[in-house]
């Protein structure tokens, strides 16, 4: 006598079929997720040291624009892998290399030697010559790249878009705004 609660042979096969599909889907989800998240799970292997040129190209006491190519380049990247940065040679081999990106929302800041300020065209952020915040919406100073001087060449560690929340942004020297 057929009972509504009774498991029929066909009902069992249908449930097994669903279970089987679920198992295959779960097994396929692992490689798919790893593929989708590959840009996140890569760690910090994308960072690398790139040269900005000879130190003599940067006069002492001045801040100059320099460009560099990202340490990792893919064929379809075009010009996007070439980035600019501001190089301030304090004296001798003492440098500060600032990211071009405003620490508010990432627009390119411009250096004004006359007033000794970096100004952002987007929302009006301003920074002093040492990269510390002067005024406007940014909550912190400009991002500073780690640098090395060797054999007369200045190199910086780059490879990541400097955003306010990126882990390497914490490397930047934090200074309280001038009172």
């Amino acid at each position: 006598m057929p009972n509504e609660n009774m498991l029929t042979r066909r009902g069992l096969f249908m449930k097994l079929g669903i279970l089987f599909n679920g198992l295959v889907a779960a097994a396929l989800a692992v490689p798919i997720l790893r593929y989708v998240l590959s840009s996140v799970t890569r760690g910090s292997s994308y960072l690398g040291w790139v040269s900005l040129g000879h130190v003599n190209e940067f006069p002492e006491g001045e801040t100059r624009l320099a460009t560099f190519r990202n340490p990792i380049v893919m064929p379809a990247d075009g010009k996007t892998v070439d980035t600019a940065c501001w190089v301030r040679r304090i004296e001798g081999e003492q440098f500060q290399v600032f990211a071009i990106n405003c620490m508010h929302l990432g627009c390119p800041v411009r250096w004004f030697p006359q007033s000794g300020l970096f100004m952002c065209p987007c929302h009006g952020g301003a920074y002093y010559r040492d990269g510390s915040r002067a005024s406007g919406p940014p909550e912190r100073g400009l991002f500073v790249y780690p640098y090395k001087v060797k054999d007369g060449l200045i190199t910086i560690q780059a490879g990541e878009l400097p955003t306010p929340g990126s882990p390497s942004a914490a490397l930047g020297t934090e200074r309280p705004p001038c009172a």
């Binding site: 998240l37 840009s39 996140v40 890569r42 994308y46 960072l47 624009l65 460009t67 990202n70 893919m74 064929p75 379809a76 990247d77 075009g78 010009k79 996007t80 892998v81 070439d82 980035t83 600019a84 071009i100 990106n101 508010h104 929302l105 990432g106 627009c107 390119p108 800041v109 411009r110 004004f112 006359q114 007033s115 000794g116 300020l117 100004m119 952002c120 065209p121 987007c122 929302h123 009006g124 301003a126 002093y128 010559r129 002067a134 005024s135 406007g136 919406p137 940014p138 909550e139 490879g159 990541e160 878009l161 955003t163 306010p164 929340g165 990126s166 882990p167 001038c178 009172a179």
Partner: protein, 491 residues
């Protein structure tokens, strides 16, 4: 004629769709919904279909590669016959679609159409709005120019502020640690496959619900929506005072849709395609990126919010707004539908419209941004120099050279980031001016390290002359007393 009807019969024998289509077309709607207020939904659908067609037409030329995208847009604009026109149609279609979807939403809100039993129709509509905005943003990215590049940087900066997950979100969004080829490829996939697929599915669901539940009846003041009785009342209304959708109501939809398509085409012909602006080359830093029209209000808001409020506003604000929109039909699913009896609803719409309008207007002249060329481009008006001493003129020179002008206007020329200085001497004494220049404060940078004592003296001497004729400059009464205790009062 007989052949056509025979072919029709042959097809319907196999498809069995004619009855369903006839039933859908002739379903009865309340007579008073055949209104010009009820045409925005169908217009949004028609513009969406146009976007699908023009999008496919663009995709047969466009190259989704960071190295080639900009060049392929130039080819579309200049080399392909009428490529510029298809680009212009797609660009203007996008603007129209956002506008019509918003107008449709306002109409639905004011007519109480989100109330029982159409709550889910509204919720699906909220997601359709979000996807429309997602299409607008990702479309701007595909126009891979300077604005797109820096716009992505802004998106990444916002995403990076998410606590804990920020850096991972940025890499997921950009497809790597920087804005590069992988970024454009994933935005192409979003814009061309993911979001349109979801849009088509949800538009279908949205339309199905409109058909199954019936179009919202015209709101009558005093006709209260109650869960227990509404469905019966609506059915009664349709039976007593209904008319077939085709042709009773549909002609207005058809007229308006044609009008909107013609308007998109007219804008496309008259104004042409959007951009592309400069090459997406990050080494070109002489750029002031701006978002497309529908995100200008956000651009203004991000400039005007106090820094400490910005991250919470950016991260919590959208969540609150989306939740409020989704919860709306569940919190206010019953009651009065007519806008005449819902003053808070009307006021909310007005408040939002005025706020967005004001912010958009402000973004047109960006008073918060320094004018990068004011110091070298805007002359000091003659009237401020007439009859000044050599020291004061030297101060005017310092004022220009030190780029004070980039943020402070004189005679309505110059930046508006800081206060205009036409009458600064009335507000501040020379001592206060010196303090302000050297130490900054109140959102002004300190210039102490950048001005020699001689420059400061000259600058303040000039600033102290800036007061309207006949108005005495500010003075420090306490100082005057202590310096000249014996002097007899003049006045």
């Amino acid at each position: 004629m007989r052949v056509i009807s025979q072919v029709g019969e042959w097809l319907d024998r196999r498809l069995q769709l004619a009855a369903a289509i006839r039933e859908t077309a002739e379903h009865h709607v309340p007579r008073n919904t055949a209104s010009w207020f009820y045409v925005f939904g169908s217009a949004a659908l028609v513009v969406f279909l146009m976007q699908l067609v023009t999008g496919i037409l663009l995709a047969i030329i466009y190259v989704p590669s960071a190295a080639e995208a900009w060049n392929s847009l130039q080819v579309l604009n200049h080399d392909i016959t009428l490529g510029w026109f298809i680009r212009a149609l797609h660009g203007w279609g996008s603007n129209f679609m956002v506008a019509i979807v918003l107008i449709h939403m306002v109409q639905v809100f004011l007519f109480g159409a989100y109330k029982f039993p159409r709550e889910l129709t509204w919720v699906v509509g909220v997601f359709l709005l979000l996807m429309t905005l997602g299409m607008a943003f990702s479309g701007q990215v595909l126009r891979f120019d300077q604005d797109a590049y820096w716009g992505l940087g802004i998106g990444a900066s916002i995403a990076s502020r998410v606590p804990i997950l920020g850096p991972a979100t940025v890499k997921l969004m950009l497809g790597g640690p920087i804005i590069a080829g992988a970024t454009l490829s994933r935005f192409f996939a979003l814009h061309v496959f993911v979001i349109p697929g979801l849009l088509i599915a949800l538009v279908g669901l949205h339309l199905l619900m409109v058909l199954k539940l019936g179009i919202n009846d015209w709101p009558m003041p005093g006709r209260i929506v109650k869960r227990a009785t509404y469905t019966a009342e609506y059915e009664e209304l349709v039976r007593k005072d209904g008319a077939p959708f085709v042709p009773y109501a549909v002609w207005k939809d058809l007229f308006f849709a044609a009008f909107i398509l013609a308007a998109v085409a007219a804008c496309a012909i008259y104004f042409g395609p959007f951009g592309p602006s400069g090459r997406p080359d990050p080494t070109i830093i002489q750029t002031a990126p701006r978002p497309d029209y529908f995100f200008l209000w956000l651009y203004a808001l991000l400039s005007l919010l106090p820094p400490s409020l910005e991250t919470p506003a950016l991260l919590i604000g959208p969540v609150v707004v989306i939740f409020a929109l989704i919860l709306l039909p569940f919190l206010f699913g019953e009651g009065e539908k007519s806008w005449r009896r819902r003053p808070i609803a009307v006021m909310s719409i007005l408040l939002i419209a005025v706020s967005l309008g004001t912010l958009t207007h402000l973004s047109g002249f960006t008073p918060w941004s320094p004018h990068m060329n004011a110091w070298s481009g805007d002359p000091v008006p003659e009237r401020f120099l007439k009859g000044t001493t050599a020291l004061e003129r030297q101060g005017a020179l310092v004022f220009q050279v030190k780029q004070c002008r980039n943020c402070h206007s004189l005679g309505e020329l110059g930046g508006q980031r800081g206060p205009t200085l036409d009458s600064v001497a009335v507000r501040l004494t020379p001592d206060q001016l010196i303090r302000q220049v050297i130490q900054g404060g109140g959102n002004m940078p300190a210039y102490g390290k950048n001005l020699s004592p001689a420059e400061t003296t000259a600058l303040v001497a000039f600033l102290a002359t800036l007061h309207p004729p006949g108005q005495t400059p500010a003075r420090n009464a306490a100082l005057e007393e202590s310096q000249a205790p014996a002097a007899t009062p003049q006045r």
